[in-house]
């Protein structure tokens, strides 16, 4: 009786079994990469907006404070999206004929809000509060990135849970004095560039962060990583 399989089958089957280990490992690795890639998280991806509003121009160019538009960021969960009237405070005087701004003027005429595309959008099962972060000394750019260098808005972080937890598990790595929260060009302390606070000089983030955790009464890591802190 003839053999069913050619002799080479032995080698092929060994190579297949051996190779399967790497193929499976690669598939897991690839899935992990895709999950964290901008394809899924949209990190760094500019979203189209009804009006091409430039944070770079308004923040870095004109020096407008974050809170001029995002008025409720210090008191509320929600930072606040400015009403059209906030835009018109200036644009009633400047660029009144600009065609780019026509949707803004139309919004004022018709009394219908501009519908912006939300960029930093956490899932609905996450409870997030801006005010507490600001009061504990988390800078805007810690999460939102260099907004003053974003001609069009994109989300800086991945907004994945690991991204939140990396900070919640070690909050001292990112805290800064409250006065510096809205400073978009704040630098963490170094020996060349110490941070002065309460008559002390901090030359590294570890000592400053540890000091601020106590000073601002940041709750324990066990507290701020508890499930129901964010999933209420």
């Amino acid at each position: 009786m003839a053999q069913i399989f050619h002799r080479s089958t032995n080698t092929i089957s060994r190579a297949t079994i051996f190779g399967a280990v790497f193929i499976v490992a690669f598939l897991f690795w690839a899935a992990a990469q895709v999950q964290r890639s901008p394809y899924v998280t949209y990190a760094g991806v500019v979203r189209p907006q009804p009006v091409p509003f430039s944070h770079q121009h308004h923040v870095a160019g004109l020096g407008i404070d974050c809170r001029y538009c995002h008025t409720s960021v210090e008191e509320s969960r929600f930072a606040g999206i400015p009403p059209t009237k906030t835009c018109m405070n200036c644009h009633a005087q400047v660029w009144t004929k600009a065609s780019l701004l026509e949707p803004v003027r139309e919004s004022l005429r018709t009394d219908k809000s501009l519908v912006w595309t939300r960029v930093n959008d956490l899932p609905d099962f996450v409870y997030f509060d801006h005010s507490i972060h600001i009061h504990k000394g988390v800078g805007c750019d810690t999460c939102h990135g260099p907004v003053d260098r974003m001609p069009m808005m994109y989300n800086y972080g991945s907004l994945l849970m690991e991204w939140c937890l990396n900070c919640h598990r070690a909050p001292e790595k990112n805290l800064r004095p409250r006065e510096q929260v809205f400073n978009m060009r704040y630098q963490q302390p170094s020996s060349d560039n110490p941070v002065l606070l309460d008559g002390r000089s901090f030359s590294d983030q570890d000592s400053l962060g540890t000091y601020l955790v106590t000073k601002y009464k940041v709750r324990t890591v066990a507290d701020i990583t508890s499930c129901d802190t964010c999933h209420r």
Partner: protein
């Protein structure tokens, strides 16, 4: 050891294989069922029914994925319902297969050789049915992989202190070991089928599965070592898997769940129901495929004795539960006992006592123990009883706990029934496929039962 084809205790005990067989006739008889026997109408009907019920299961699952677990009868306070009842029931059934294939192998019980193959297949299909339920029961079944600890983008591990996570490990380990054990056991027989297949494609498929088995002395030496090692690995699983399943209940503080007797009593119950399922499969199979010479009176009787013994352990468990509920003096435990006996689910509790304790006592009598028809009936009653037991454990403890304000009732919906019956159909269809495409009795292990095998060894 004595010649196993001869009766060992006078004429009262049947042999494990009827006399008159040779190596060749054993191989012929078992492999012909797969290779040459035409597809019978009975098989077609059986498989067809199983297949249709499986389709119903898929329909029920599809609707569940669309609408969520709200289509089931579960709600607060009874959040566990049929899904967990069926899970515990199915996984328990699987245990007999592992007991037969691993523990009886290590204990050198030769009567296992003709029932281990299909008992292991039963284990696999039962664990597959069991595994569906916890996943279906999740609110978002498509995220079931969250149960496994993997480096995820949430930067979080599962809650390792939860017995539900232990369950994931227990069941997935159990399935993996059972599958590997079953497959390794099949390899020499797959090679036999490869060599005997007339059809080219059958030869190729069996050939791939046989993984180049030639039956050389070196093959056999390694094979037997591997098989024994796997048996050693599988043996603790017989005890550990259902122990972990019982922790799902015992770790909680509900009356009726929070007891230390749960692990042994669950394991005994698992083997009890498992052997009942083995008998319910073996009795029709030996009849329809004419395998009375291989699955003899002895096998039926031994299985019945195992059922009787484990049934008594289960009865002891019930008695101890009731005694402790009374003797412990805890009013909530006390109430649980009253509620089981007189509450809204009392008829189910009484039915369970009848099915699991009263009726199986007929197995004490040799005349009835050796009557296949009656054994089939006892097995069926025990399977029903063991299902009712899990229903009582899950539902009665949950529906009335410490606060009367949170009491409620549980009524299964048609979707609950469709899912449960659907898994029975899936089990049936899978088993029908198994007996057509794989040797349902281990050919090479049957051959070792012949006197010739002993003579060769003696030389």
């Amino acid at each position: 050891m004595d010649d196993p084809t001869q009766a060992t205790r006078g004429s009262r005990t049947a042999p494990v294989i009827e006399p008159g067989y040779t190596f060749a006739t054993i191989t012929d008889k078992i492999s012909s069922i797969v290779l040459t026997r035409p597809v019978s109408n009975g098989w077609l009907v059986g498989f067809g029914v199983g297949f249709l019920i499986t389709m119903m299961l898929l329909y029920a699952m599809g609707y569940l994925f669309l609408r969520g677990v709200g289509i089931w009868g579960v709600n607060i306070p009874v959040g566990w319902g049929f899904a967990i009842v069926n899970f515990v029931w199915w996984i328990g059934i699987g245990h007999a297969g592992t007991l037969i294939s691993a523990i009886l192998l290590l204990l050198r019980q030769q009567w296992r050789n003709s029932i281990n193959r299909f008992a292991e297949a039963m284990t696999l299909f039962a664990v597959a049915c069991a595994g569906m339920f916890p996943v279906l029961h999740l609110g978002r079944p498509w995220l079931a992989y969250w149960l496994f600890p993997y480096p995820n983008s949430m930067n979080y591990w599962p809650q390792f202190r939860s017995p539900l996570v232990w369950d994931v490990f227990a069941v997935s380990t159990y399935f993996t070991i059972s599958l590997v054990f079953w497959f390794i056991g099949l390899i020499p027989d797959l090679a036999t089928l490869r060599d005997r297949a007339e059809n080219k494609w059958a030869a190729i498929i069996y050939g791939i599965l046989a993984m180049g088995w030639r039956g050389s002395a070196r093959h056999w030496k390694r094979y037997e070592t591997a098989y024994l090692l796997l048996a050693g690995l599988a043996t603790p699983l017989v005890l550990s898997v259902h122990t972990v399943v019982s922790f799902d209940f015992a770790i909680a503080i509900l009356p009726g769940w929070h007891t230390t007797i749960f692990p042994p009593y669950f394991v005994a119950g698992a083997i009890y129901s498992g052997f009942a399922m083995v008998l319910m499969l073996a009795i029709p199979i030996r009849k329809f495929y004419g395998l009375e010479d291989f699955i003899t009176q002895r096998h039926l009787e031994n299985s019945a004795k195992v059922m009787l013994a484990t049934g008594l352990i289960v009865a002891y468990g019930y008695a101890m539960e009731a005694f402790m509920n009374w003797y412990g003096g805890n009013p909530y435990d006390n109430y649980l006992l009253w509620n089981r006996l007189h509450g809204p689910y009392a008829p189910i509790y009484c039915a369970l006592l009848f099915c699991n304790i009263v009726f199986p006592q007929v197995l004490w009598f040799r005349k009835w123990r050796t009557n296949p028809g009656l054994l089939f009936l006892v097995s069926f009653v025990v399977l029903v009883g063991m299902w009712l037991e899990r229903f009582i454990i899950v539902v009665v403890s949950l529906h009335r706990d410490f606060q009367t304000s949170s009491w409620g009732m549980y009524y299964p919906t048609k979707w609950d029934w469709m899912t449960y019956i659907g898994t029975l159909g899936f089990f049936m269809a899978a088993f029908f496929l198994f007996i057509r495409i794989l040797p349902m009795i281990s050919i090479f292990e049957m051959r070792t039962l012949l006197p010739e095998a002993k003579e060769v060894k003696a030389e």
